[in-house]
């Protein structure tokens, strides 16, 4: 065999081996990813947080050792997550408060509807009712159906009204709302209350059975989420070993190009994740302060602000959700303590809309240009489609991974194609 033929057959063998190895590698990778599916979310969240903290770890203004800095950041982050989680948990309505909220919502909705339609005085309705009544009355009935309490909820409500589970009894006015909502006679309510009181010991027994399953559930969460701090620590401690490992597998011809692509993706992803998380925090904080100043209860302002802030990673969705939830709450709000003197019950809805609008303007004019910049300029439609597509295909994980995946695909495509031309590979 001539040297040229030998080189040729060697090249063929090489291509075959590389192709085979690549197929086996990717098949194994898909298998492993499928197997560790529950661990993917904590792994990615750990990586996100590591990206967020990278500049702090690499900050050169201190002589403290890197691993000490990482430990301090990790402790601070852990404490913040723990305390924040506790605060959120305390802010979320409990079983009794949820029932109160439901009763209030239905009552206020009916009251506002009657007021708007002019049904509260003579029952005949005003011009608005005559014009849009045919469309709005069925809609109102549907919303009432959604807010209607089930029989179990009614029993529980009456239990809480009588004083149950060491909780303060439900206030009389909510009971009156409840009666109005259900349009039932007081005697009937007494009957239900009596039957509910006789069954008041039953739920306590069921609680013990749940305790065991809760413990195993907690153990499962702990083992799955163990990867979260590990991913965080190891990515921050990494001195380039991960990228060196992958670069070893790249053929010489693509070495510089592959490095450029990886470096660009790393840079863009880091900037995007850091920018987005900071932007979400700022939006959430603005909403919380705005709602609180408008007179909302701090707990409610915190919950709506946090939901709005977190969902703000998806363009328009955060402010839209904050607007809907805030407006809905403003319609049922009873005890408001506005710090701004010109806000009252009637103008709360307008104040909420103003807060959402100001937040959206601040986000577009200051937060986004300042913290996200034009690092990765993705069209909002692409983001929205990606997020909904991701959530449809992979559920919650798809929702979280969608935007970073779009960033990676965009940067890889851009860098790779221009690089392939520059390096005269295509």
């Amino acid at each position: 065999m001539s040297p040229a033929e030998s080189a040729g057959s060697r090249k063929v063998r090489r291509i075959l081996i590389y192709t085979g190895a690549s197929v086996v590698f990717f098949a194994a990778l898909i298998g492993v990813l499928h197997g560790i599916q529950p661990m993917l979310l904590p792994l990615v969240l750990g990586t996100f947080l590591a990206y967020l903290c990278k500049p702090l770890v690499n900050y050169r203004g201190t002589k403290i050792k890197k691993y000490l800095r990482i430990s301090v950041i990790f402790t601070m982050l852990g404490s913040t997550i723990y305390l924040g989680g506790r605060l959120i948990k305390e802010s979320l309505p409990n079983e009794k408060e949820k029932l109160e909220l439901k009763v209030r919502m239905q009552y206020r909705l009916n009251e506002r509807f009657d007021g708007l339609m002019g049904l509260s005085h003579n029952g005949k309705g005003n011009l608005f009712f005559k014009t849009f009544g045919n469309e709005l009355v069925p809609l109102h009935a549907k919303v009432n159906d959604v807010l209607k309490m089930s029989d179990d909820e009614k029993k529980l409500f009456l239990l809480y009204y009588a004083g149950y589970n060491d909780e303060e009894p439900i206030q009389e006015r909510y009971y009156q709302y409840y009666l109005t909502n259900n349009k039932i006679a007081k005697s009937e309510a007494e009957k239900v209350r009596h039957s509910a009181q006789s069954a008041s010991t039953a739920p306590a027994e069921g609680a013990k059975v749940e305790e065991g399953s809760q413990l195993s559930h907690l153990m499962h969460i702990a083992t799955t989420w163990l990867i979260f701090p590990l991913a965080f620590m190891f990515i921050l401690l990494d001195k380039g070993q991960i990228i060196h490992f992958f670069m070893r597998t790249v053929p010489n011809r693509y070495f510089e190009l592959a490095y450029t692509v990886v470096e660009n993706v790393d840079e863009a992803l880091g900037r995007y994740i850091r920018g987005t998380i900071i932007e979400c925090l700022l939006v959430g904080l603005t909403l919380i302060i705005g709602f609180y100043l408008s007179g909302m209860d701090f707990k409610i302002a915190l919950v709506i602000g946090l939901v709005g802030g977190i969902t703000n990673a998806i363009p328009f969705v955060g402010t839209f959700i904050a607007c809907i939830v805030g407006a809905a709450y403003s319609l049922i709000a009873e005890d408001i303590h506005p710090l701004l003197p010109f806000i009252n019950h009637d103008s709360l809805l307008l104040a909420v809309l103003a807060v959402v609008m100001i937040t959206h303007l601040l986000d577009n004019a200051i937060y986004q240009p300042l913290v996200v910049g034009s690092a990765v300029d993705i069209h909002p439609l692409a983001v929205v489609l990606g997020v909904f597509g991701g959530s449809m295909m992979f559920g919650f994980a798809g929702l979280i991974f969608a935007i970073p995946s779009i960033v990676v695909i965009k940067v890889v495509t851009e860098t790779l194609f221009s690089g392939l031309k520059d390096y005269r590979i295509i």
Partner: protein, 194 residues
Amino acid sequence: MATQDSNSKNPKNAPGLSTQDRKSALRIFWGQLRKNDRDDVDADKLKFLKKIPFFENLKKHQLEQVAQIVYERNYRENEFIFESDQPGAALFIIQSGEISVEMPQEHAEATQLAVLGKHSFLGELALLDESPRSASARTLVPTKVFALFRKDLAHLAETHPDITSHIYSALALIIGNRLKATNELIEKRLKAVA
């Protein structure tokens, strides 16, 4: 467990060791040897880098930081390390082997500008910007190189500016000397023409 057992035995009884103990002892020995081997490789890398003008003024701990960001690559004979007009991203330092620096011609064979060997470096301008390579580099024999990327150096400048200041000043010196040599050459040529 077996390792602890074998360690606790008196060496004088060595001839009476069981097969399992011997295997454990062998494992410890090989483990230690591999560890030493790894240290030797790192020490060799540091010793090698110390001889390169960019790094000669660096202290050991600074050199270790640089060693962490350089990539080791193996090239076969007649393989291009980079080609003229491609965007430059890295400096290459020859660890072993030979590289021909050449200028490709459109309808003729490439003109060889220089042949570089161990301890030489090429593509140093890529440490400054992404401007295209002015010549091609092709291996003449199987060659090992170290690659140092501009972006890695920029990251290092953020965390260890003391290290990169040495590297950049060495780079400035090298470029300055080359400019001086080129000026002298032009001057000589002009005198010859005159």
